[in-house]
């Protein structure tokens, strides 16, 4: 399928948003950006780069994207580092850190860094800056992960590299550590034209539901999330059972198992045990790549739940809000940034709260509709990929003038 152009986004976000991007970009003629990450396919960062790199180029910014190279040893190390930064307990011997640095140095020899702005994504290529200390351009580290409780040993090792950058970008103030460089907030964003989010034909949605044996005779309450204890699928079933004493509905759980997580099978067993033989509870095990079907499940839902107990940002919330679905979300991680309680959805703190939310939204359809409409607007304002394009343009416009409060652009 042909990649969407800015013209295609104009239809979705409105012409004024695209015009604004064009004007900002016109002040950046011939400026260049290099994005560097660790994988060309799979994962949210690669997905986002596939979307924004061509759009920034269309705006006249010269953007290139390099992927660092490494073997299994390197990626085993970076996976451990990634997990440790997200709080996992681990102990690293010095040779592990040395190997990480050796791989970064080798990649540094093979990549040119001549662009005006270098954006390094996540910890895998973070240390590249170590061999670029006499640079004339600007370097920014974009951290996409939850750094609220980093493993102290790993953070002690990485922090000196981070502080060599000109700035760092985090998704939330909850994730940003104390640093002696400027820090910016870039929310993660969804692509409204991706298969996961684009408009779908009603006939197709009906067909998907029929294909998976989900009758549409009652309101459907859905959680789409990996089968992981932190997503609390068992709690969702308990909340559904409590709510069903008062309202008639079906529960749909859609998720995949983390391939590298032995706990995944155990939680799926618990989910099945909690559901029992209830014919109104539908448990689907999915590959995350079946994006259009997931889109159909979200659009067919009367209520979407994201009852997480711990969360990074949970873009599944933005995905559902964009589709004008009433949302119930756990008040953790990035969910409260997306759900403003009582205005763009309902925030809950317990199984009981989730159960009350289901009853409330099913019995108050006008209220649910208003929440959903506000939620759609919130996503349009903050969590679409076009907003991230704007953030990158503003970053390029302001990096030389970080001390100024207001910059006037004139031709």
């Amino acid at each position: 399928m042909k990649a969407p152009t800015l013209f295609d986004y104009k239809e979705v976000v409105g012409p004024d948003i695209i015009e604004e991007l064009t004007i900002l970009a016109s002040h950046l003629a011939n400026r260049s950006i290099k994005m560097v990450n660790s994988t060309a396919v799979g994962g949210g960062v690669a997905e986002m780069l596939h979307c924004i790199v061509p759009l920034l180029n269309e705006l006249g910014i010269q953007v290139t994207w390099d992927v660092i190279q490494g073997d299994q040893t390197f990626f085993d190390i970076t996976k451990r580092i990634h997990n440790a930064l997200q709080g996992q307990e681990d102990y690293f011997k010095e040779d592990v850190f040395n190997a990480y640095l050796a791989y970064n140095e080798k990649n540094n020899d093979e990549i040119d860094f001549d662009e005006d702005l270098i954006v390094i994504h996540d910890p895998q290529p973070l240390a590249l800056i170590n061999w670029n200390q006499k640079r004339k351009n600007k370097w920014v580290w974009r951290c996409h992960i939850d750094m609220s409780h980093p493993n102290p040993q790993v953070w002690r090792f990485l922090k000196p590299f981070v502080e060599q950058y000109d700035a760092a970008i985090f998704s939330s103030p909850l994730f940003s550590p104390e640093l002696n460089i400027a820090q910016y907030r870039f929310y993660p964003a969804i692509d409204p034209l991706a298969d996961k989010n684009r408009d779908l034909d009603a006939v197709y949605i009906d067909r998907v539901l029929m294909q998976y044996g989900i009758p549409r005779d009652r309101p459907i309450v859905t959680q789409i999330s990996r089968y992981d204890p932190w997503k609390d699928p068992v709690g969702v079933i308990q909340a559904f059972k409590m709510a069903r004493k008062y309202v008639d509905c079906r529960l749909l759980l859609v998720g995949d198992k983390a391939a590298d997580d032995p706990e995944s099978e155990k939680i799926l067993e618990k989910v099945r045990a909690e559901a029992g033989n209830d014919p109104d509870i539908h448990i689907l095990l999915f590959s995350p790549s079946i994006a259009t079907e997931i889109n159909a499940f979200q659009r067919a839902s009367d209520i979407v739940i994201q009852k997480s107990l711990r969360e990074g940002f949970a873009l599944t919330v933005s995905e559902a809000l964009w589709k004008r679905r009433p949302l119930i979300g756990g008040a953790v991680g990035g969910i409260p940034a997306q759900i403003i309680d009582g205005y763009t959805g309902l925030l809950v703190h317990s199984v009981e709260g989730a159960s009350l939310g289901i009853r409330w939204l099913i019995n108050q359809p006008d209220f649910a509709k208003q929440l959903a409409e506000n939620g759609h607007q919130r996503v349009k304002d903050e969590f679409l990929i076009t907003k991230n394009l704007k953030r990158y343009l503003l970053l390029l416009l302001t990096l030389d003038k970080q001390k100024e409060q207001t910059i006037f652009l004139s031709y």
Binding site: E20, L24, F170, Q183, P336, D341, T398, K401, L409
Partner: protein
């Protein structure tokens, strides 16, 4: 002949400061010591976003005081601060400090409360830029209002007061001084921003122009 009105707009980048407050005293300290641009971010900038999703709050401070500390009365007092009355951030900052300090006399125990979720202080870098939209007369002004971005509407209706130390908005100033239409200028000046989203504000300005044109 009227001077041409070239529409401007603004955009901003959010900076994390690492500073936060869990109590009213800590919030007061942030408000007293933060840069002007942080005051701007948590009031003017927040106001724009909150309006579009129809939140009753008009700034981040009142939202946190209401939701984080459950001090509804103080939140309401801060909400009642009309941003359109402030043409310097210094005067707005002093007003916020006064409201919170006065509240200590009314309910000192509120200052003992500690929120579970802290208030995170942000800073901002604003970028102000020219757009390619112009107005020469009332007709072209009306056309431009219907097509400019909500950011441009917001800039000329609210933010401009800070740039130019104005007591009114750019639209009313231009309509009065260049088109010599003081009645229409006054009607636009009297629009209550609290009652409208920015799209609603656009619609309201267009209605006022259309009504004015029908009546003359």
């Amino acid at each position: 002949m009227a001077d041409v009105f070239q529409f401007l707009s603004s955009a901003s980048l959010e900076k994390l400061t690492g500073r936060k407050a869990e109590t009213l005293d800590e919030l007061l300290n942030l408000i007293k010591t933060c840069p002007d641009s942080s005051i701007f971010y948590h009031t003017f900038s927040a106001y724009m976003k909150m309006r579009e999703i129809r939140l009753p709050y008009n700034n981040d401070f009142s939202y946190w005081i209401s939701n984080g500390l459950n001090e509804k009365a103080l939140a309401e007092k801060i909400m009642a601060t009309d941003l359109s009355e402030y043409n310097t951030l210094r005067s707005l900052r002093l007003r916020l400090i006064d409201i919170i300090e006065d509240y200590r006399n009314q309910k000192s125990e509120a200052f003992q409360k500690r929120a579970d979720d802290p208030f995170h202080l942000f800073d901002i870098i604003r970028v102000v830029y020219l757009t390619d939209k112009f107005a020469y007369d009332l007709k072209s002004f009306r056309e431009a209002i219907s097509t400019i971005s909500i950011y441009s509407i917001y800039f000329h209706f609210i933010e401009c007061r800070l740039e130019k130390d104005l007591q009114t908005n750019d639209f009313s100033t231009w309509i009065e001084s260049n088109l010599n239409l003081p009645d229409l200028a006054q009607m636009i000046k009297r629009i209550d921003l609290n009652a409208y989203t920015l799209e609603g504000l656009r619609t309201r300005i267009l209605q006022l122009i259309d009504r004015y044109l029908e009546e003359i």
